[in-house]
Amino acid sequence: MKNFTTTNKKKVFAIVIWIGIWQIISLIVNQPLFLPSPIQTIVSLIELGKTTTFYISVGATLLRVLTGLLTAIILGIAFGLLSTKTHALQIFFEPVVSTIKSIPVMSFIILALLYLKSSYVPVLVCILLCFPVIYTNTQKGILSIDKKLIELAHLYKVSKVKIFTHIKLPAIMPYLLSAVLISIGFSWKSVVTAEVLSAPLHSIGYNLYTTKLYLDTQSLFAWTLIIVILSIIIEKIANNLYQNSKWHINGDNS
């Protein structure tokens, strides 16, 4: 407990130091157009919070992020599992996954704009960006399964369901969680980037685009701060769910 508190204090201290550095640089620059101070950013955020547009935009973007992320997780796990069934399937999927990995986000966005409504483009881009991460890590998780435990389970005629819940799933979970945590960051970046270009009316990306048009750097910082905060919250929720799940070996459970 003592260590936990000390670590948290250190983290808060580090954040305070960096905000202090930001404040000092903004005072030296003394041009809010180029670098608004932390206080100006917070003031701008409070102003944004007074409008209903703010909440609608944040809600719409959040919904896109969650839809894209969950779809990518489901597809990534499904295809990841499928690819480890036979080597032929793995070889069959590999070119597609490698291509998706190497295509620039912009190409996806421009292409998707030709086919889809502007509000759906960010979701598709998010899926395409997160899918390879989940797919690859699911594969790695499956390969990490201890074959000797499977052998033991077969010898004792343990049911397939129990083999999955007691041996396979616990082995896959750590890989899957790390993939999900990486994907949360990816999903916010990809959704907002796609929103800036596709400009759906209710979105954080559209608001970012208007800050560029009006050279409203304070609002740009405020919107960015919101993205960072929401991304961290979702990451913390995912991490807590895993830490409290039975799949996590807790150092204190004895």
């Binding site: 077969h154 010898l155 343990v158 007691h166 041996i167 616990p170 070996i249 459970n253 004895s254």
Partner: protein, 197 residues
Amino acid sequence: MIRLENIYKCFADKDVLSNVSMIIEKDKVNIINGPSGCGKTTLLNLISGIDTEYTGTITGIPKHISYLFQEDRLLPYFNTLDNVMFTLPESLDKEHKLKLAKKYLDALGLSNEYKTYPRKLSGGMARRVAIARSLAHPAQLLLLDEPFNGLNIELKHIVMDLILSGLNQMDQTIILVSHDQIILDYIKNKNIIDINI
């Protein structure tokens, strides 16, 4: 009675078992004897059905087999009690499984470790959990590969007594691989089978 006839087994062009034949007797502790690397574990793998790539014939293998492997093979994400219950037959209800698991864990001095996870167990304790798991399973054939590794003399006797009680009460066939001479001398009703390549 289990009969093995003209068993040949090779790994990458190297003969591990060459023309091995033997009879495993019921109601006795069948002790497989032989120098290190002579294929004793391989033989247990063939009898258990884990390894099916061999030539020769094996007959008389019963349906329910329990196997104490040389490694402990404990599930890392489940506690001691769950580990023992994991391999018990699905036909048993949960209460019965719990009773069986606790009986063997208690007998092996692990009554305070029901909720302990494998990574928190010492080597000797982990071995005892693996022993409890293999003995708790109501099997007709019990295969034991070096069960006494990491145990003190008192525990070795407790384990051997548990094995022998299974032999008497459950009408089991037991195949034991061990180099522990003190324990081997302790067993009265035994059938020593030598493997020499």
